[in-house]
Point group: C2
Chain length 364, copies 2
């Protein structure tokens, strides 16, 4: 009678944040890879690129030009996915046809989109930036969150939630190497966030505790999925991770949003992001692609919505085995359920063991 | 006072199958693309490749060799994500720690995985295959579904659902050009399917009608999202499509699974798949990548599970603007909610207008 071995036998794990399951097939990492390989970005990128739309002083696609900025720089996206000035639909669109009313549910969405340049330098990325520069990035997120809250409150702007994120690397659809993130601010709460808020609320109702509070407690006790931690934040490969080296940075005590960060927390977030991303780059000695973003309280949240929010960040990096071999979430994953080829604990072991201080390029 | 224009103003549409929302930003198709470009597969692939693991007669990775097959050929995946012979976990895993029991939900998963070669020829794809050959592919799916049902029923194999799918093209993680699909058979119903079954059941309870039956009625009446139809099947860009040229093939009357297909239905599915994929290839004059798969009744389903199932196929193709420019579902999509850059109706218009009979390579 064979024992169940989590590092070898297939199992499904439950993600309590999104109320979904993922299939873990740890033995599968052994198969050979004959498919597409990613190209590795060349390392000879200049500090200033005259053709870049984001470099200081340069002309922008839609006219005008960037100021000669020295730190972070936030501007409105020239190709915003949502706009403030568009007509709206009635809250419950009436198509007159009862079948359509049932099957064609639709809502109008207004909002605004921003680009956040992390640095004037074209050729750096978060793991290569200085601590103070990263504190400025966190500060820029805080400032943006506060400004949008104020515009919604005082000027009646249709802003309910701001999704702050970064797509890094061409494999993650990033169309410009210049270090930057985005912020899409909508009058509706995006599905992923609203699903998390629903799960938080359910957990609180059932257990009179915070889901992420309990989860932090458990991870600090187990230790097997911890990548790095400091006074304010914990970084783990979540028990239910989908992407091979997916991580979550979560505040140790309840903080609803960046708006509530004190100086120490800004400092600590900057430092844990730096350590994590240095480890990421050191893993396959390449500029590690990912999409990452902040999950936090909706703008001007009060009551339950504010009470249930718990600041955290998700990092979704696609690479699986090397700088060129990624995990594809395709056929089975899209039609059936997400599947991964190594356990969360195996991924955490590897990330934990890596140097999180010295970037591999500094060692060459 | 401006009217709301669905082809220009941002809105969210609801997907009643998966109970989720997607953001539509139709004006966004206008932004310039400076990011990653896909490579176009070379067209000089030979009919037989001696290095291919799937070609007739060739040696396989794990030893043994393929028979000299002439039509379709099904074999067990050499790197199966699930296996029949592994230990199991108790239905409710007891970690002893109450916190863990709440937050670390886990299930063991047994099953089996198969590869289905569509043709002995290394250099063809579905749109380039003859009608009779495609009828054989549908026949192979039917046979596999029936065999797995029987093995579960008679030999107590841990098979509850078989997810049949195809990853086509390197952009969709396909590691071998040889035309083939896969079938992953699990003892659990994968999340996407179980979510659909939940939605079907809810709709039936509330409306005493089938969700997809009503949807087919509506699409036949509206016509704006139809790509092609025949006696048995309808192909539409669903109202709630996420991928730019996503389509759904759905049976016009209720059919629970391929097991119930008669000869006419096998014929009609082969023919609508061929027309759709010829249109796909003709859209950007390239071998159009996609992941596609069948959604149908669980194996040996009875009662509600059988009653609520309605055969359909999803096609998820990544290309957006050309053979080399794809849509990336990344930062906002992963952290917030799926977003698309053209409406379902705009995509359907383009696909409908294309030639669905003559493949572009035959016209050169
Ligand atoms: O089985 P293949 O074709 O080698 O692998 C491909 O399809 C699988 C099922 O969708 C995915 O899990 C893999 O990431 C993908 O590369
Ligand atoms: O806005 P960008 O960087 O041009 O575009 C990228 O990020 C967006 C938000 O995740 C996605 O919708 C696009 O598909 C992707 O290419």
């Amino acid at each position: 009678h064979q024992e169940f071995d989590f590092t070898d036998h297939s199992h499904r794990r439950y993600n309590p944040l999104t109320d979904s399951w993922i299939l873990v097939s740890p033995h599968r990492a052994k198969r050979p890879w004959l498919g597409q390989k990613e190209t590795v970005a060349k390392s000879t990128v200049p500090e200033y690129d005259e053709k870049c739309f984001l470099c200081p002083g340069n002309a922008r696609v839609t006219g005008g030009s960037n100021p000669d900025y020295k730190s972070t720089y936030i501007f409105q996206n020239d190709f915003a996915a949502v706009k403030t000035d568009q007509p709206t639909l009635p809250a419950h669109m009436d198509f007159k046809d009862p079948l359509k009313n049932k099957l064609f549910k639709v809502e109008s969405v207004r909002g605004n989109c921003f680009v956040i340049c992390f640095s004037p330098k074209h050729n750096v990325t978060i793991p290569q930036m200085k601590h103070d520069e990263l504190v400025n990035v966190v500060g820029a997120w805080q400032q943006l969150y506060n400004n949008l809250s104020k515009e919604a409150r005082e000027d009646g702007k249709p802003f309910k939630y701001v999704q702050i994120f970064e797509n890094k690397g061409t494999a993650m659809g990033c169309s410009n190497l210049h270090p930057h993130g985005q912020a899409w601010c909508l009058e509706s709460i995006p599905s992923e966030v609203s699903q998390e808020l629903k799960s938080f609320k359910k957990y609180e109702t059932e257990n009179h505790c915070d889901l992420l509070g309990d989860y932090v407690k458990l991870e600090l006790q187990e230790k097997t999925r911890i990548v790095v931690e400091n006074d304010s934040f914990l970084c783990v490969v979540p028990y239910w991770a989908v992407w091979p080296f997916e991580t979550m940075i979560v505040s140790k005590k309840k903080i609803a949003s960046v708006a509530q960060f004190n100086e120490k927390e800004k400092d600590d977030l900057a430092s844990i992001m730096k350590t994590l991303t240095v480890k990421y780059d050191n893993l396959f000695e390449c500029s590690f692609p990912y999409s990452m973003g902040l999950h936090q309280a909706p703008l001007n949240a009060v009551g339950e919505e504010l009470e249930n929010s718990w600041f955290h960040m998700h990092f979704y990096p696609p690479l699986l085995r090397s700088a060129t071999v990624r995990k594809f979430l395709v056929g089975f994953e899209l039609l059936g359920e997400p599947q991964r080829d190594l356990t969360a604990e195996q991924a955490a072991d590897r990330l934990r063991a890596l140097d999180g201080e010295v970037h591999y390029t500094e060692k060459l």
